[in-house]
Point group: C3
Chain length 150, copies 3
């Protein structure tokens, strides 16, 4: 029987596990941020969510969209679109026996770029802050995919 | 050569594999549910989808949104936003050698909470049914992330 | 210590790694396609993105939606909804010791179906091209889930 706990002794895999957990936790924060803005701004998508704010027609006025909430939702969806390829390709890349320092450079760049992407999106910072951070994360994932297919 | 089939002998990993497969299959049901409502309610997003219901302007009236369809789509997106972190963090958590009963408790709570979340969303049940099931799933994933980073 | 590079000697796992990387790279292309259409058609979701095209009210007119861009975004979301279950279930399936030729048939069918789905969606080809390619990918994932739970 393979002792799976030994897999975590592999340094590249352990680094991947840490960075993947960090970036997924950051992504989960987007749900909390959306919930926070929905509550404080009273902007809801479902009738059952705004029952406490009034009855009948009075409650329906909270079924609306809001720039701030939509911005968080776009940032969240962009995270999902970019973190899913990172998780899949990054996991397989970690198992393909890459050089430790190269691997850690990839993981750090990706995590840093995605955190900066969220900051750029939510502040919002003027372009090309968000575009640059997007392309760094994108490039890192493609670089791992290239090494994996090679 | 590592005999990969032995990995499946690890009890925690086998439990994770089962619960992950169950929750992913449940998530896939959301696609079928969306398709079902689109067909029965004749609500489409693409012109090529409603050609069989008429030609030209007659078909265009089916390019619309519908409360029921949008509700299923929101539930599906919420699944995606929460199941992706569970898969990533849960996989790494399973490999980090956790206690079997603790791990199974985490997996069961998450799967139960997400199934209840879907029921709450689609029925819909009054709040805080959906909010509670969301936070249980959220908390389980954060608890695994915390144990992993520690 | 387990030498993780040996995992990649497992033929099924190596096949899964290749096909997963291919389909994730294809999915990443959808982000680039969206960006391409947003730039060439001047259709943006954020005020800070269209500053270079004018100031104040003049820039706001580019904050709009566009059929072409929305179509790419729907294709991208559909990818995400289907590729996430494939990655999760496919990874676990690869580790469950399946027959090599059966496994490769599953992976090839899925990747082929999803590439054809994107072509059908973006051209767009008349139905049932897109519906069929969707259901082939869907069926392949369910077939792997079934073998895994059994």
């Amino acid at each position: 029987m393979v002792d799976l706990t030994q897999i975590m002794d592999d340094e590249v895999f352990m680094a991947f596990a840490s960075y993947a957990t960090i970036i997924l936790s950051k992504m989960m924060l987007m749900s909390a941020t959306t919930a926070f803005y929905r509550m404080t701004r009273k902007v809801f998508a479902n009738p059952e969510d705004c029952v406490t704010f009034g009855k009948g027609e009075n409650a329906k006025k909270y079924l609306r969209t809001d720039d701030r909430v939509e911005r968080v939702r776009r940032a969240h969806l962009n995270d999902l679109e970019n973190i899913v390829p990172f998780l899949g390709i990054g996991l397989l890349y970690s198992l393909s026996g890459p050089d430790l320092s190269t691997a850690i450079l990839h993981f750090r760049l990706f995590v840093g770029a995605r955190i900066y992407h969220t900051i750029s999106y939510l502040t919002p910072l003027p372009q090309p802050n968000r575009a640059l951070s997007f392309f760094i994360g994108y490039g890192v994932t493609l670089s791992m995919a290239y090494r994996l297919l090679k």
